[in-house]
Subunit: 208 residues, 2 copies
DNA sequence: CCACTTATGTACCGTGCGGTACTGATATGA
DNA sequence: TCATATCAGTACCGCACGGTACATAAGTGG
């Protein structure tokens, strides 16, 4: 981010903060917020607890930062999908992106936004709330995009943007669980085609 | 179970083992395996740790027993659904049963089989494996039912039972995540109708 | 009544948790 | 050179975790 110029005084950081955050992200992704211990995290990050606390604050903050990085990295297909020309293409992009992201062999299986903290004890409530908000925001962005599509005539006038957004989100979450269970990528891809048969105006190009 | 006749010698149990297990089930359901501490569990069960260990073995075994009870109780819609006359009715029964079970106001939101242990640390692997097997078994039962339906002509000859089972399961898991997020029951019900539009032979009664 | 068996309650164990005080090390700026 | 500021590493804190030893209560069979 700002490695070009020494920002202020003091001893310079001895590790790559972006890379360390990436490692932390993977640990959270694989073990969930509560299942990821500080020892797991810092060992994967290659730094000591002290350095982690100095750089990120605490475990909660580290998780929040990792979630941000997840949004911009592995889950970036979400914002890119919104730029597709048609609502149908948006839906398809989201579903295919989700399958891709949740079944990469070099990454943990599943989706951080689901398995990061779905049900937790007392200590994990902040992480759980953050993921609830994350999912709500994602779904809302999808709803707004579908609403625009309806206004533009891209979707039938009678279609329900919030229902469609909820449906696509639901399939995404379901596939994330399947991916975490170990279902292979190809099997999930076949679900996409089936799920999209419910899409308004049918599989044929809309002309109504 | 066997409360009518004193089974053997020794001091009789001072609590209702079924009711205590029910309470433990709710704690696991709400907080997940790792998020549920022995203190949480035994306080909800109304017994001491010693009694819990004497009656169920350990936390792992208690979870396994709670999962069994979950299968026979809140998730019993699954086996009942298999007895529906048509594959379509089976699918609809499963989806409606899932919505009902995951959004009951007097129970934790969501599905134990998903949020019980989706991603865990080291200590939760046994619970995680148990839930993976539970989901696989459920999906396999659905697949077998759909395969029978195809053989009987209830489903088109070209349909894929394992794909259909995976699709229905995926929607169920997705709705479980939505329920855990706090999406209300009615919103999920509307997803069912949309999801079932992908069902083979369409919404009209099959006559091919 | 007594030996035996099982359940209960208290008080505790070792361990690993998230988090931190403190000491050095390494940079800047005057 | 030296005060200042930040980072790194060790060694530790209090606590809650899952699990258990042990003494006692409450039944059965003889």
């Amino acid at each position: 981010m700002d490695s070009a110029q020494r920002s202020v005084m003091g001893r310079p950081r001895g590790f790559d903060a972006d890379q360390a955050l990436e490692r932390a992200l993977e640990v959270f992704w694989r073990h969930g917020y509560e299942g990821a211990t500080l020892t797991d995290l810092t060992e994967a990050m290659g730094i000591t607890r002290t350095s982690m606390y100095a750089a990120y604050g605490n475990k909660d903050e580290l998780f929040r930062r990792a979630l941000e990085r997840y949004t911009l990295g592995p889950a970036s297909y979400g914002v890119r999908a919104l730029e597709e020309p048609t609502a149908r293409a948006v839906a398809e992009h989201v579903l295919r992106g989700a399958v891709q992201a949740t079944t990469r062999p070099d990454r943990p299986a599943g989706c951080l936004c689901v398995q990061g903290a779905l049900a937790t004890g007392e200590g994990g409530q902040a992480a759980r709330d953050a993921l609830v908000a994350w999912r709500r925001d994602g779904e809302e962005a999808l709803r707004a995009r579908f609403a625009r599509a309806r206004d533009e005539g891209d979707l039938p006038a009678g279609s329900d943007p919030s229902l469609l957004a909820r449906y696509i989100s639901t399939v995404v979450y379901g596939m994330a669980v399947q991916a975490a269970t170990g279902v292979p990528r190809e099997d999930l891809r076949r679900i996409i085609d089936l799920a999209l048969q419910s899409w308004p105006a049918g599989p044929a190009p809309s002309h109504a």
